[in-house]
């Protein structure tokens, strides 16, 4: 173990250099303890990236423990490249979500594209063939050309990468709010399928096993700002290099096929993609998970540029690269597969038993660090947290001071035209959502649905999150995100089986942000527990702030649901005239934090809707039961925009023949706007055939009082959505009516109009 440390000439480590590497003085002291000596520059670089927030989860780790991560279906929980759940038939669904926020702000096209590339690698390194992508996006309002530019760039980047590699993008969500103008969010979700007992993991087991590098050659992409700052380092490099990584979906497609071929031929002990912190993190994590060491020779790493130093090679974030471990004797076969697919590959090192990450450059040792000191040994912080002063102010909303809606006819049109609610067709038309011939519910319904060929089953997948709710009440917001995701999955005919999350927050060194973070996690954890769905993977993105302004707390939930039989697959649009429209659930006075309040009153205030998890669960159980009995023609949940927006969407989203509806609501003690546009959770609008009404009613009654049901009206084949509201006093009746074509026109075209795109085609 006591290698020739003369080969590791200590550097004169100045406090500035430590600071440039983003390490605190205290962290530096820990490094000294781990090493028993001063690090050299390369080692300092390794610690710097590995102990960064992004790689080490140092501020979040202790809190993530709150998530329920177990369940009979869990095949792989958090800690690997992705999580996996059992979906029967010997198969596992492997999925994860990841953020690429900052790179997408710097260069929207490439930033978003490489985000897609990164999450795909997480899935196929597990041996799974990716079959679905989704994305959650947040931008500032579209009245700014900068925000338009960001949206267009991000969407075309996602489109380019996903289409080219041939994995369908089957859904997602987009919300607009100026808080994201200087810090857009790009979260990408991917799901793949693998035979349960063939799951690959990021392990570096077995002393003497070979370590191979495959994929793109290493360049100086994305090397930490620290490199640039260090004077002694700039000499070799030319001008200041842009920190932008360029994606290569074609190469990734080759990597994907090659990896699945390794699996088929059983060539690997372990595999890990090189994401953030590239070669360093992949090797440390593999060794640390397996309790082994890894020795690498950077001179053997395929390189794109001349004169790269070990520091640069170790820290490069060039895309489309992986690290493999194979038994001696199998490396030739691995190299053979790579040759077939035209991929660069090289044996770069071996697994050792000394627990060290040892880096050589030829004969010279250039770094030597205990692998688990860098990975497991990373600092963990329980940062101070406190609710902000402004929280009460945010939550205060005096409804008596808020005029009730006067012109509901116009209000509905305004809401349907809000880009957060309006159709996202302009976006998903640019995504190949059909490649793979599994997509049986395309974008445009509550969740995307992919069938599982040969099993008769399908998966419903959605991503959801409402950051305004989270701002107003982070705990409730976290729970509501889970509830909405589960509701969307249930509306498609599925039972929720697993969750992944992407937690986008501001600066964790601020107690108010830390408080938001902790509360949101608790909300998510409690809701997941209540719905009995485990969290199997996830991602944390902190420091989403610009000029001291943090984004709203934005946890995004990715939920996967299992559809037992293809004939349970349900979509949101009305199917035929004459069907009875039912509301499962109950409308309360939930106006705080709604889209209505924002669009019509320019306020983002109040208490968000209250989530009663038991009620929510009962509603899910009810709707799923009715679907499985074959009684449900359509199901659509109430979310942003409330009941009236939901009904309008049911009328107009039919892919070929929009239908009308005749609705009667009773106002009871509710405000008019709360009745129409309030966002009470736990509500689902379903339609059933008239003939089934008695049975359905009976079935719901049998479920007990936890599931309120009311008859809203009937589907018609007219071009009218008519709503009659009965007031508390019978003489107090209001009629409203809209031509469906007018609603459809507003909903379909609003996004393109705001982007200034001519829709003549």
């Amino acid at each position: 173990m006591t290698q020739d440390t003369a080969a590791l000439p200590p550097l004169n480590i100045s406090p500035e250099l430590i600071q440039q590497h983003g390490l605190s003085e205290e962290e530096y002291q820990q490094i000294l303890k781990h090493l028993g000596r001063e690090p050299n520059l390369t080692e300092l670089g390794v610690f710097s990236v590995m102990w960064s927030e992004h790689c080490s989860y140092k501020s979040s780790r202790v809190h993530l423990k709150r998530f329920p991560t177990e369940g009979p279906q869990v095949v792989q929980g958090p800690g690997e490249n992705a999580g996996a759940v059992d979906i029967g038939d010997g198969l596992a669904a492997v999925f994860k979500m990841e953020s690429h926020n900052h790179p997408s702000f710097i260069e929207p096209f490439q930033g978003a594209a490489t985000g897609v590339g990164g999450i795909l690698r997480d899935i196929f390194t597990m041996g799974a063939r990716p079959i679905a992508l989704l994305n959650s996006l947040r931008f500032g309002e579209l009245d700014s050309s900068q925000n338009q530019h960001l949206l267009k760039g991000v969407v075309s980047g996602i489109s380019w990468y996903g289409n080219c590699i041939g994995v369908p993008t089957i859904g997602g969500e987009i919300t607009f709010n100026d808080i994201y103008s200087k810090n857009p969010l790009v979260n990408v979700f991917c799901l793949g399928i693998v035979k349960k007992d063939c799951l690959l993991r990021g392990l570096a087991k077995g002393e003497g096993n070979q370590v191979l590098y495959i994929g793109a050659k290493t360049g100086r992409d994305g090397i930490h700002g620290a490199t640039m700052a260090s004077g002694s380092f700039d000499d070799a490099s030319e001008k200041k290099r842009p920190n932008v990584q360029v994606g290569d979906p074609f190469l990734e497609k080759l990597l994907l096929e090659a990896c699945l071929e390794f699996l088929e031929q059983d060539l690997l002990v372990g595999i890990q993609d090189m994401g953030a912190a590239g070669l360093t993190s992949s090797s440390c994590e593999m060794a640390s998970r397996s309790g082994t060491g890894i020795e690498l020779d950077v001179a053997k790493v395929p390189r794109r540029e001349p004169n790269m130093t070990p520091y640069e090679i170790l820290l490069s974030e060039s895309q489309e690269r992986m690290l493999l471990v194979a038994q001696p004797g199998k490396e030739e076969a691995v190299l053979g597969v790579c040759r077939k697919w035209g991929i660069d590959a090289a044996v770069v090192g071996k697994v050792t038993d000394d627990g060290l990450l040892r880096i050589r450059e030829g004969d010279q040792i250039v770094a030597e660090i205990p692998a688990n000191a860098i990975a497991e040994g990373a600092p963990r912080y329980e940062r101070p947290s406190a609710p902000p002063q402004y929280q009460e102010l945010l939550q205060a909303l005096n409804l008596d001071m808020l005029p009730d809606v006067k012109d509901a006819t116009d209000a509905l049109l305004q809401l349907l035209g809000s880009p957060t609610i309006s159709s996202k067709r302009w976006v998903y038309r640019q995504y190949d959502y059909m490649v793979g011939t599994n997509t049986v519910v395309c974008p445009g319904s509550d969740a995307g649905v992919v069938r599982l060929k040969g099993t008769g089953k399908a998966l419903a997948i959605t991503t959801d999150g409402n950051s305004r709710y989270c701002l107003l009440h982070p705990y409730m917001g976290g729970g509501l995100a889970v509830a909405e995701a589960a509701r969307n999955v249930v509306c498609s005919g599925a039972k929720p089986v697993g969750v992944t999350d992407c937690l986008n927050f501001g600066n964790p060194e601020r107690p108010d942000i830390m408080w938001q973070f902790i509360m949101a996690i608790e909300g998510i954890a409690d809701a997941c527990r209540a719905f009995d769905v485990p969290v199997v993977s996830g991602n944390v993105s902190l420091y989403n702030e610009t000029n001291g302004l943090s984004i709203y707390p934005t946890p995004i939930i990715g939920m996967v649901g299992l559809i037992e039989r293809e004939d349970h697959i349900t979509t949101q649009w009305f199917k035929q005239s004459g069907d009875i429209i039912l509301l499962i659930g109950e409308t309360r006075e939930d106006i705080g934090g709604t889209e209505y309040l924002k669009v019509l009153h320019s306020r983002e205030q109040g208490m968000p809707p209250w989530l009663d998890v038991e009620r929510e669960q009962a509603v899910h159980h009810c709707v799923l039961t009715l679907i499985q009995k074959g009684w449900v023609e359509s199901a659509h949940d109430c979310s942003e925009g409330g009941l009236l927006v939901t009904l309008a969407e049911c009328c107009l989203t039919h892919p070929s023949t929009p239908l009308g509806a005749k609705i009667t609501l009773s106002q009871e003690r509710l405000r008019f706007d709360a009745l129409l546009f309030g966002e009470s959770p736990s509500r689902i609008v379903i339609t059933i055939k008239e003939d089934n009404f008695t049975q359905v009613k009976q079935c719901i009654q049998d479920m007990g009082s936890k599931v309120p049901m009311s008859v809203l009206g009937q589907v018609t084949d007219t071009n009218q959505l008519t709503v009659t509201v009965q007031g508390e006093h019978s003489q107090n009746v209001r009629h409203m009516s809209w031509p469906v074509t007018e609603l459809a026109d507003r909903w379909h075209n609003s996004l393109e109009q705001q982007l200034g795109i001519d829709q003549s085609s």
Binding site: F250, D432, V440
Partner: protein, 244 residues
């Protein structure tokens, strides 16, 4: 060489680096149509034993230079040329069509869609020639709903070539509206003369931009694509049964 009617046909599906509809086509050929699908790596030099060849959609070589431009030099292309010269059926879908253009099996070239973006959506096409091995189970003028998914499907041919295509019924599909009118607004990508698919002069090679393999099963609530596979397979069975 005689084949009995119930013998499964052998359909070769070429896998170029970056093909991504290869497995989708194989699924339709084998699981839906009940014949044998063979994935053939582009480095192979023979298509012996195949009854027909499909060039599937995708992004061969990332389409980094021009769609189909690099794939056309794959070793397998010579074998396919020979196969088609002998009258073998060759179906190019989307990127497969683009490769057939670059390789000179079919005339013309593809430009970027006029709105410059990738478009994934259902389109309607009118069957202009129902007397080809790929369309004979369709009625002349039948309107099919078929999805497209491409960024470069804006077909171009110079005026001389175009009139030749028109004159010899080589235009097999035109984009149209629901009612069968080939209008500018029903043309999704700016293709000249609303062209969505063409055949070669001999009639044994078809290039088509929409994806019939994406709508050949009941679960998609649209089985129009089935007609194209069915036509192709029936003509092969007819031919072989004649030979018996």
């Amino acid at each position: 060489m005689g084949k009995k009617r119930h013998d499964p046909l052998n359909i070769g599906i070429i896998v170029f680096p970056g093909s991504n509809c290869d497995r989708d086509c194989a699924h339709v050929v084998s699981e839906v149509m009940g014949h044998a699908a063979h994935l053939i790596w582009h480095q192979e030099r023979t298509v012996q034993g195949m009854d027909a060849i499909i060039l599937p959609g995708g992004f061969s070589y990332g389409d980094y230079l021009r769609t189909g431009s690099i794939a056309r030099f794959s070793p397998i292309m010579e074998a396919i040329l020979e196969f088609s010269n002998q009258g073998g059926l060759v179906l190019g879908i989307c990127n497969g069509f683009q490769i057939l253009l670059e390789a000179g099996f079919l005339p013309g070239a593809m430009l970027r869609n006029t709105d410059l973006s990738f478009i994934c959506e259902d389109t309607y096409v009118r069957v202009e020639n129902a007397a080809t091995p790929f369309t004979h189970t369709c009625k002349p003028g039948q309107i099919l709903k078929l999805p497209i998914a491409h960024a470069e499907g804006n077909y171009y041919a110079d005026p001389v070539t175009l009139s030749a295509l028109q004159a010899t019924a080589q235009i097999v599909f035109r984009y149209c509206d629901k009612d069968g009118h080939a209008t500018t607004t029903s043309n999704p990508n700016g293709s000249i003369d609303n062209i969505a698919g063409i055949r070669n002069a001999q009639g044994n090679v078809l290039g088509i931009m929409p994806h019939p393999e994406r709508c050949a099963e009941e679960i998609f609530r649209n089985q129009n694509g089935h007609l194209i596979f069915e036509s192709m397979l029936i003509s092969l069975l007819g031919k072989t049964s004649l030979a018996v």
